[in-house]
Amino acid sequence: MTATAAVDAAGLVKTFGRLRAVDGIDLHVRQGEIFGVLGPNGAGKTTALRMLATLLPIDAGQARVFGVDVTREPHRVRQLIGITGQYASVDEDLTATENLWMFGRLQGLRSADARAAAKRLLAQFDLEEAADKPIAQFSGGMRRRLDLAASLITRPPLIFLDEPTTGLDPRTRGQMWDTIRGLVTEGCTVLLTTQYLDEADQLAGRIAVIDRGRKVAEGTPDELKASVGNSTLQIQLAEGADQELAGQIVRKIAGAEPVLTPESGRMNVPLDTADRAGDVLIGFRQSGVAITSVSVDKPTLDEVFFAITGHGADAEDDADRPGTGTSEAGAGHETVLEVQ
């Protein structure tokens, strides 16, 4: 794997009117890895992906896919990639088989080969029974699997996955993850975007965190999580006035900086291990700090964001809304500042 990078992008910029949706992003994806681009809605993930996939012109900067320049030779790049996105999908008026056959034919397969490839993919993705059903009758999970199958018909070496599991139930999500891991064992490289920290953690070897069109962090999932601790202690203080004191206790016992929400008296504490939560609570009891609720959770994207950027991420918004890549940028930076 000393070969050229699967993706080599430097200083990518995309502006929509006054909004710099992508504002100078560098990405370096090695061959054969799963690379995750993590960020909230409107961060510019999809826009960056669409630029790399030749769907949007690159305003500034440059990108290469396996050494082929995206701006100068888009037609060659398109022979190297497959894209499955929130929007790139299949034809709803055709059956699954017809879709796959058509995509194969369009990309130069002979009719018999396209039919055979369609059959193989439908079997691989457990869609054989639905092969001749209209897409309208497909469940969300089946639909995603078919979308992915359609990207794989000519077995491109680089697959772009734009939020592959957004809106899927947990079981289907797990299946999708297995499928994505399988792609890499076949020699593919995967670049995926997600707004779920656990998804990036599960799949990606390396992660770039994107916020407001910029890359704010990059590293392995472990490096990223180290910056926020492995778990988070969430405390609701009974008296807002105790905040100052509570903060001191947390700093002393857990050695971590608490994230405060002054209006509601809420406090989030990043912890190395969940065990430390007990120590913090004992410290509170000894100092007479009253609490109304307590919970220990895995760190959320919001906390990663807070740790890295100093502000939270509004990832609540459902990404299932229809539209184009521009709408993600248009949805804009409504980042909620819960804390100063």
Binding site: L55, V68, I83, V90, D91, E92, L94, R155, G187
Partner: protein
């Protein structure tokens, strides 16, 4: 040509190219195989596949045929009985003037739906996939247009059949009628590219519809398609004289109109029909 690599001798049969176990993807080999652009042959074959897709979609959305079936039937009968007496004295003598006009109008309306359908199609996710595929850029646009030839044929054919049922007897005979249909379909198809272009620049299918109506309505009605030019006020007659060639007639064909008498306003163009 095929991008799928075979593994091994094991799997028997001609389909082994893609049913056998697959080699791992080799990026270097794939990069080496890439070509900088599509060839003409590929463009033609991709356009035909896109036309296949459009025909499948038409068959599964039969309501798309309403405009090319109901409109010719309804408009022909309605206009003939409504205006026949007023304009030409009786229905029968109005038909040679009317039928070519309706053919032009329905073919133009069909053009319009080409643009509207394209816009709707482009809003769907599958179009993004087409754009990210190494295929000719024109194929997703040209494919539906090729498929639309079926719609033009139905529109033009039904109009003439309705006319014949009402009592229209084309003077040009079968060959004349066929020639006229080919001319109308060809002209409609040529004009449809304008609406396809509108389809690609407009923001929504509704906008395409609105823009197209604005172009089509004046051009079809402010002409000698339905009424003799002599019946119009001077300023309108002047416009119609420019537009009179039934909108879609090539200038060379339209030119002899000048030579024909006012009683035969349709001129040579309609002679092909009547």
């Amino acid at each position: 040509m095929t991008t799928i690599t075979t593994a091994g001798p094991a799997s028997a049969g001609p389909a082994s190219a893609s049913t056998g176990p697959l080699h791992a993807v080799d990026p270097v080999a794939v990069v080496a195989r890439t070509r900088p652009r599509t060839t003409i042959t590929e463009t033609v074959s991709q356009t035909l596949i896109m036309a296949w897709r459009a025909l499948k979609k038409m068959r599964r959305n039969m309501e798309q045929f309403f405009d090319v079936t109901i409109q010719p039937l309804l408009f022909t009968a309605m206009f003939a009985y409504l205006f026949g007496g007023a304009i030409s004295g009786n229905v029968h003598s109005y038909l040679p003037l009317l039928i070519p006009g309706i053919v032009a109008q329905t073919v133009l309306t069909t053009c319009m739906s080409t643009g509207v359908n394209l816009r709707e199609d482009m809003e769907k996710g599958v179009f993004d996939r087409f754009k990210a595929m190494p295929i000719s850029r024109i194929a997703p646009l040209a494919g539906p247009m090729v498929a639309d030839l079926v719609r033009y044929l139905i529109a033009a054919g039904l109009t003439i059949v309705t006319g014949v049922i009402i009592g229209y007897r084309p003077g040009g005979g079968v060959l004349g009628v066929l020639g006229a249909m080919v001319l109308a379909i060809f002209t409609g198809w040529a004009l449809a590219w304008i609406f396809t272009w509108i389809g690609t620049i407009a923001r929504s299918a509704r906008a395409v519809q609105g823009m197209s109506m604005m172009i089509l309505f004046p051009l079809t009605f402010l002409s000698n398609a339905f009424v003799p030019v002599t019946s119009l006020p001077g300023w309108l007659a002047a416009f119609v004289k420019i537009n009179r060639s039934r909108t879609w007639c090539p200038p060379r064909v339209a030119w002899p109109i000048r030579a024909s008498s006012a009683a035969r306003p349709a001129g040579r163009c309609s002679r092909a029909w009547s």
